[in-house]
């Protein structure tokens, strides 16, 4: 499915645009197959394994008073008594054609794409996901921009000024960033900048309500999340850069009289970017599925917060929906990364 961090750059693309297209199609097809497999695995985890383990799935859909009538109604609504292949089929059908849950005179239609229905909060899952997705996407992208800028800059500078005070200082900060958990840095930043100095309100405001309010609410989460990742990126960038600066072709470039900024920008950076891009694809994909700790610490109404609530309340359909979305995000991110390899790494294009 993907080129992991330790693997050599993605598969070679030979020939012209047609070959690229064929390559893309192949990758897309593989991704689609992967998605189907993921849906089946996730479905099994949530519906079949509990059944084999002797846990009544229907019970976990009902509230405090588990009235037998209510449990039975959920069983009917979800078709839990049907054979497994019927249940899986109904689930798939729901995603593409919608689904209707009916029991006891109450009919609920869940329109396509129906990723399930929460009988706890009486909501279809898809609107919950689309409502919360922008928050998480905003958080992940904003933080990614910050960590890329600061992480790469710090890493490159450290590599170039290896052993200097700057290098050591930056790497100590980076070590702190990697080691400190979000719920520490997050709470600390809230305590200082929001409750203490009062510079930021740090409460989430939807983008459509107010742009400045949105920025004000997102700055601390961005910085906190970026601090963690920037630290990792700085360390990786530094290590990769150092390795590459020792390569023959860099010496050749310098020997033929190229100016140092050109050597760094044109030759060294390109190679450094390959592992960084791989990491970025994985990290962004995973974060888009919900940055649970960051969203919880800052009470951001994103996917991570939704899934945590769902886990606490045993709201299975939401957990299932977010799991699927996360898998999808990781798949897409990896696909994009694989394609980008061709752009960044000339070896991929030429071979």
């Amino acid at each position: 499915m993907t080129a992991g961090p330790g693997r050599p750059p993605g598969p070679a693309v030979r020939g012209g645009p047609l070959a690229v297209l064929a390559y893309l199609m192949r990758r897309l097809f593989a991704a689609a197959v992967m998605l189907v497999v993921i849906i089946m695995v996730v479905f099994s985890i949530f519906f079949l394994i509990p059944k084999w383990a002797g846990v009544d799935v229907a019970l976990s859909f009902v509230g405090k008073q588990a009235d037998p009538a209510a449990v039975e109604a959920v069983r009917v609504k979800l078709g839990l008594g049907d054979p497994v292949y019927v249940q899986v089929w109904e689930f798939f059908k729901g995603i593409f054609a919608g689904r209707t849950y009916a029991a006891g005179g109450d009919v609920t239609h869940c329109s396509a794409p129906c990723f399930g229905y929460s009988f706890r909060s009486e909501q279809a899952i898809w609107p919950v996901l689309t409502d919360r997705f922008p928050v998480t996407l905003g958080l992940a992208l904003g933080a990614a921009v910050l960590w890329l800028i600061f992480g790469l800059a710090a890493g490159v500078l450290s590599a170039l000024k290896r052993g200097s005070l700057w290098d050591r200082g930056a790497m100590i900060v980076a070590l702190a960033g990697v080691s400190l958990p979000i719920y520490f840095t997050g709470l600390l930043s809230l305590a200082i900048f929001s409750y203490g100095l009062g510079w930021l309100d740090a409460q989430y405001v939807p983008l459509e309500d107010s742009f400045t309010g949105w920025i004000g609410g997102m700055i601390l989460p961005w910085v906190t999340l970026a601090f963690l990742y920037a630290a990792m990126y700085a360390r990786i960038t530094r290590a990769t850069m150092l390795e590459i600066l020792g390569e023959d072709y860099i010496r050749t470039a310098r020997a033929k009289g190229l100016r140092e900024p050109v050597v760094i920008r044109k030759h060294a950076m390109r190679s450094t970017m390959t592992p960084i891009l791989t990491m970025l694809g994985m990290d962004l994909g995973a974060l888009i599925g919900g940055a649970i700790l960051t969203e919880t610490t800052f009470s951001l109404p994103g996917l991570g917060q939704a899934v945590l609530h769902a886990i606490k309340n045993q709201d299975l359909p939401i957990i299932l929906g977010v799991t699927l979305i996360t898998s999808l995000a990781v798949l897409i991110a990896n696909l994009v990364v694989d394609v980008l390899y061709a752009v960044i790494d000339p070896r991929v294009r030429l071979s």
């Binding site: 909501q123 719920y183 709470l187 409460q203």
Partner: protein, 597 residues
Amino acid sequence: MTTQRTSGRRKQAMAAAAVVAALLTTAACGGGDGEKGGSKNGAAGFDAANNKVAQASLAKKGGTLKFAGAQDADSWDTTRGYYGFMWNFARYYSRQLVTNKTEPGKTGAELTPDLATGLAKISDDGKTYTYTLRDGITWEDGQPITSKDIKYGIERVWAQDVLSGGPTYLRDVLDPEGEYPGPYKDKSKDKLGLKAIETPDDKTIVFKLPKANSDFEEMLALISASPVRQDKDTKSKYALRPFSSGPYKFHSYNPGKDLTLVRNTEWKQSSDPIRKAYPDKITIKFFSNANDMDARLIAGDYDLDINQTGMSPQGRTSALKQHKENLDNPVSGYIRYAALAQNVKPFDNIHCRKAVLYGADHVSLQTARGGPVAGGEIGTNMLPPSVPGAEGQKYDPYEMAGANKKGNVAKAKEELKACGKPNGFKTTIAVRNNKPVEVATAESLQASLKKVGIDVEIDQYDGAQNSSVIGSPSNVKKKGYGIIIMGWGPDFPSVQGYGWPLWHSKAILESANNNYALIKDKTIDGLFDQYVNTLDEAGKTKIATEINHKVMEGAYYLPFVFERFLNWRSDRLANVYTTDAYSGQYDFVNLGLKSTK
């Protein structure tokens, strides 16, 4: 989904939390430094609203009352909600035939007419309750509320397959045989086929009970007895947008995110003797970080916590130090306890049960619950102080708050001998893994019982599964859960509303059981029967006391504390008081603001 790359760093987290707690304590002093000691702009003072009204005269019409919460309601559907704060809040958008008085403390637990012109006219045999409706009572679209709307609202309780979750007392009392199928399967044309309720005209409603129940009017005061109009009933989706009969109506609701109520302009003050409807708007914002929420309460961004279950340890520490005048310390109505399961040997023997009661260190258990202020007084019996007939610490048959408060090893060993286990025995404590305080009580109990020779293992089970783990007697037996840690509060302030599910033999269920001790005592069952047939209050109170004594004599329970909370009220709040109707919570419905800005 990801937990980000921070797992496996527990120790760092502990250190971090300590530093943050210290920082928050200092950082939080920024807000709320208005004038102190009950002045016009400042907070009313410590415990100023505990069982009494604080700053009643300062409430003005208008403004936005802001709630914050860490947990959304189980459901805002009047039929389905079971959380205490939901019942409290639901009075903003729903009315009932009768409701609790809007007065502090014990008086708040008494009933007063709401949609009805007076309390019930009860027939001599206690089986017929008749009410007449007031004039001018309307729905949010201006149509009058009729007796048929009330009947339909109550009938919804029967539709447990669609509307699960809420209390079912009304169904159990009005239709014990379960003959009525509920309004959604009702074959009659008007869907009002429930025989036990008659509506001879739009203004009259008559309840005919197959068997008398002296708490019936208490059950009609529950939110699940609210009217629902048939053409506005969206069945399972009603929770998202209940149709209002009260002074406020739903403006917007995003589950788990926020809720906003605005004035219901069709509601008439003249038709409602209870509700003052001070603010123009009421909002709830839900937080996922309870510490953040408390910091914002302290900073004055919000007025009070909708959940009303006390501040987090961190917020509590900082509030007690810096803003004590904003806190109340009411008794919650909950008792935290351990139940001793009789189907797990050797707890079938009363002496082995008594050995646990004597062996436990009650002070240590109280400390584990948070100490006398945040945890509550040492519990000495099983009837919460807010329930009529309760005697509080005055009734202490095992001297848990007296001579034996640190545990009595000698007496415990005596009981062990009488039980035929002079060298002690082994057993298991079942405790929810998502309640750190309960786990702390389990550890305390484990330590003190070790001294008397009772070897205890602690099993932390998935707290969300309690109805199938400890709620299944066969599972309890299989796992050997001799000691089960739990807590319970009254659904309505009476021995029936508190104790029936815990102590009556008929309450024993195969799943979702709450009678963990499996009490099958004919005397206790008989006393409950006597209770439901006794109509005078003095007689009911006496029986309640007696039931409590019988339960304690059986040594089925080890009470930990009569729980207390520390709840926050902002400087802006006026006309604020705690009420026994909602287990020591602030009475939401008549809260006002001093300033409308």
